[in-house]
């Protein structure tokens, strides 16, 4: 009623759309993002904020006392935190570059016009990615079992002595790295492959006309073309590795003697095994800060020149 009256009495062109806008068109986007924002707030924002608050408390199960930065001070003095960080960084520096290099090689191979039954082969390399984390962790634990595992049996046939997978500090790290590589290489290769297929063919033609061989085309056309997705995969792999949990949890439990203890595992142990949620939250925030810093560095180094 009122709308009708007003529309009749006032210049319609200005007022009507703005009024209707608040109730309709202008409000609509907020209504559409509303549910997502609400869910985000409840399931992400609230726990994120709450765990920071929690990290300022000395907690002992349900008992909490405000302790300021005590948990963070304890973190700095905790040898296990540093060895967990060291292990995580070791895997990050060794496994991630190897895996990404492998993924690029794989992507180039999968992109080759010479390859037959492309779909099948690509699927084969991507399949590990859809395998459940726990399932494949168990699979590797069984395969790599020092006494009864298939891998040591096969190595034995080739005359190589039993490798102490999972029971020796260094080899346990290698085992976790192997599992990670098996699981994520295909996934990264598919990302690279998508980018490769978007690279214009005339760049290759031009390079060929200039007399570039296969290696030079790869070096000067393919790699620069992949730069944006390399940033993406490096950042994602870094975050993933820093949060590494499932594989060592299932395969080694962080052992032997903490040699595969990761920040994720140490956080879990403190929260859910030792009931020390405040300290676990402090570890989580330390991890967040580390991921944030590394992310910024990677964007700065790799992102600008593209």
């Amino acid at each position: 009623m009122t709308a009708l009256v007003e529309r009749a009495g006032a210049p319609p062109a200005h007022r009507a759309p703005s009024r209707r806008g608040w109730t309709g068109a202008r409000l609509a986007p907020y209504l559409f993002v509303g549910p997502a924002l609400l869910l985000f707030a409840v399931f992400k924002l609230y726990p994120i904020a709450w765990s920071f608050w929690l990290s300022l408390f000395k907690t002992d199960g349900a008992l909490q006392t405000f302790a300021g930065a005590a948990n963070y001070r304890r973190l700095v003095a905790d040898p296990l935190f540093w060895s967990a960080l060291g292990n995580t960084v070791t895997i990050l520096l060794v496994q991630v570059p190897l895996m990404l290099a492998l993924a690029i090689a794989l992507a180039v191979a999968l992109n080759s016009p010479l390859l037959a039954v492309k779909g099948f082969v690509r699927l084969g390399f991507f399949m590990p990615m859809v395998t459940g984390l726990v399932a494949y962790g168990l699979l590797f634990a069984v395969l790599l079992n020092p006494q009864s595992g298939l891998v040591n049996w096969a190595l034995g046939l080739a005359g190589v002595g039993p490798v102490p997978w999972l029971t020796h500090g260094l080899w346990a790290k290698v085992a976790v790295g192997l599992a990670l590589t098996w699981h994520y290489t295909g996934y990264n290769a598919v990302i690279y492959l998508a980018r490769l297929q978007a690279l214009p063919a005339d760049h290759y033609d031009a390079a060929a006309v200039d007399g570039a061989g296969a290696w030079q085309r790869f070096r000067h056309v393919t790699l620069p073309g992949l730069r944006p997705v390399m940033l993406l995969t490096i950042v994602m792999s870094t975050i993933g590795t820093l949060q590494l949990f499932d594989e060592p949890y299932v395969m080694t439990g962080g052992g032997p003697d903490n040699s595969t203890m990761t920040l994720g595992l140490y956080l879990y142990a403190n929260g859910f095994k030792f009931f020390d949620f405040g300290y676990a939250s402090a570890i989580a925030y330390a991890l967040t800060v580390i991921i944030g810093i590394l992310g910024v560095v990677q964007f700065k180094v790799l992102g600008e020149r593209s």
Partner: protein, 447 residues
């Protein structure tokens, strides 16, 4: 005699409190509660029970009988799995009791942590009538489930340290296991055994891939009346007892007598089936596991109490126990308690469970049943039940697992891995472990 009026009073008090709880949840008429018999007879409700594998299966078998006696109660026994159950209980407790089962099966390694770190997480069972069972259990058990005058659980199984061995293999090696007096003798016997038969003495999960890789170390401590903590909660890892225990393990390892059980439980079961180790120095409950895993080895196994650590030392120790508790937030505490009481305080229930899975009851009256005094065909005609009963009757060292047991276990298994995998010095790694634990828990180290 002087005790009688007091007990009667307690019962009446329990009854009144029980009645109050009942009417509070609108479940029934307090006047309908009978004056004797299990306190929860009139209780009603749907009760969820959390347990794992064997015990869960046994409780499921008891449900029909229970529901006949308590028609108002429906019981759902859930096999949560072990160790998954600890994470699930912790999560539920941290969430203020949300989603917890009503009856919780809890081991002695976790009970103190739940009691101390989650006040109110477990219900005090005295108002429900638990006190009248105080004297019914093995020595030391009531102390284990009580704290500051409150009782948080009823004891279920009480496990004594044991020493299961392949009698046939030792016989072939010409070793009389019954005559082994100390662990020094065990090491010597192990060397002979390995030379004559090629079989290693025992197995340990050297990289500690599963949480329970320190069982032998713990038992060697308990045989010396010691553990990770003393009764005041101080750390006792840097003590002569601890060094002695870990040194025994190191000597066994250096002599090549310890097979690596990396992978934990499954690897251990496989090794039993294959006969690749000759000794399982495990508590009471493990006899049932051996019998179930390798039925074809009937007659080849025997059992005795473990040899002493030092000449003339103790050979009996109650190494651990499990219990049924009621969640503090349960809406059907009465009914939940009634089920726990039915399972744990009736000798018939416990005898059935022992027959089914070999789980040894803490309930002493259950031992009157002939099943505990029969010769076991699997264990070469030995009266296995009596061997452990003898240990259970002895006054036992009450182990203080403390609320920080999970942390302590972690530093201990790491220390043991260093010794077993890298040949580290026991005294050094234990001193480091004690210091690390002190840094993490603010507890004092006794040296």
């Amino acid at each position: 005699m002087a005790n009688l009026p007091r007990r009667r009073l307690l019962q009446l008090g329990a009854l009144a409190a029980g009645g109050a709880a009942l009417s509070a949840c609108g479940g029934g008429d307090p006047a309908a509660a009978p004056a004797s018999g299990p306190t929860g007879t009139a209780a009603t409700g749907d009760v969820t029970v959390w347990s794992w594998q064997g015990p869960a299966a046994m409780m499921k078998q008891l449900v029909p009988g229970f529901q006949k006696a308590f028609p108002g109660i429906r019981v759902d026994v859930q096999d949560i799995g072990n160790p998954a159950i600890w994470d699930k209980i912790t999560t539920g407790m941290a969430a203020g009791g949300q989603g917890l089962g009503d009856v919780l099966h809890i081991g002695v390694d976790y009970l103190p942590a739940y009691i101390e770190k989650f006040p109110g997480g477990l219900a005090d069972l005295r108002p429900l009538g638990a006190d009248r069972h105080r004297g019914a259990f093995a020595p030391g058990m009531w102390e284990t489930v009580s704290r500051d005058g409150k009782t948080y659980a009823l004891p279920w199984e009480a496990n004594s340290a044991g020493f299961y061995y392949r009698a046939d293999l030792f016989e072939r090696a010409g070793v009389d296991v019954a005559a082994l007096g100390t662990w020094d003798d065990v090491i010597e016997a192990g060397v002979t055994l390995k030379a004559k038969t090629g079989v290693q003495l025992l197995g340990i999960d050297k990289p500690a891939s599963q949480a329970d890789s320190a069982n032998l170390f713990q038992m060697l401590l308990q045989l010396q009346d010691s553990f990770y903590f003393d009764m005041q909660g101080n750390i006792t890892l840097d003590t002569p007892q601890a060094v002695t225990a870990l040194t025994i393990i190191k000597r066994l390892n250096d002599a090549g007598l310890i097979a690596d059980m990396a992978g934990g439980w499954n690897t251990m079961i496989t090794s039993i089936k294959k006969g690749s180790v000759a000794v399982q120095s495990m508590p009471t409950w493990f006899g049932g596991i051996i019998e179930e895993s390798a039925p074809d080895q009937k007659g080849k196994w025997k059992v005795r109490l473990p040899p002493a650590v030092t000449e003339g030392g103790k050979v009996a120790a109650t190494v651990n126990s499990t219990h049924l508790a009621v969640a503090g937030t349960s809406k059907v505490k009465e009914a939940a308690y009634a089920f726990a009481e039915y399972v744990l305080t009736r000798p018939e229930s416990q005898v059935a469970i022992y027959k089914g899975k070999g789980i040894a009851p803490a309930l002493m009256s259950a031992y009157d049943d002939p099943v505990f005094h029969e010769p076991s065909a699997f264990f070469g005609g030995q009266k296995k039940g009596e061997i452990f009963l003898e240990a259970l009757r002895k006054p036992s060292y009450v182990t203080n697992y403390s609320a920080d047991y999970p942390r302590a276990l972690k530093v201990v298994t790491d220390a043991q891995s260093k010794v077993l995998l890298k040949g580290a010095d026991p005294a050094t790694v234990l001193r480091e472990a004690a210091d690390l634990l002190a840094q993490q828990t603010d507890r004092k180290v006794v040296r």
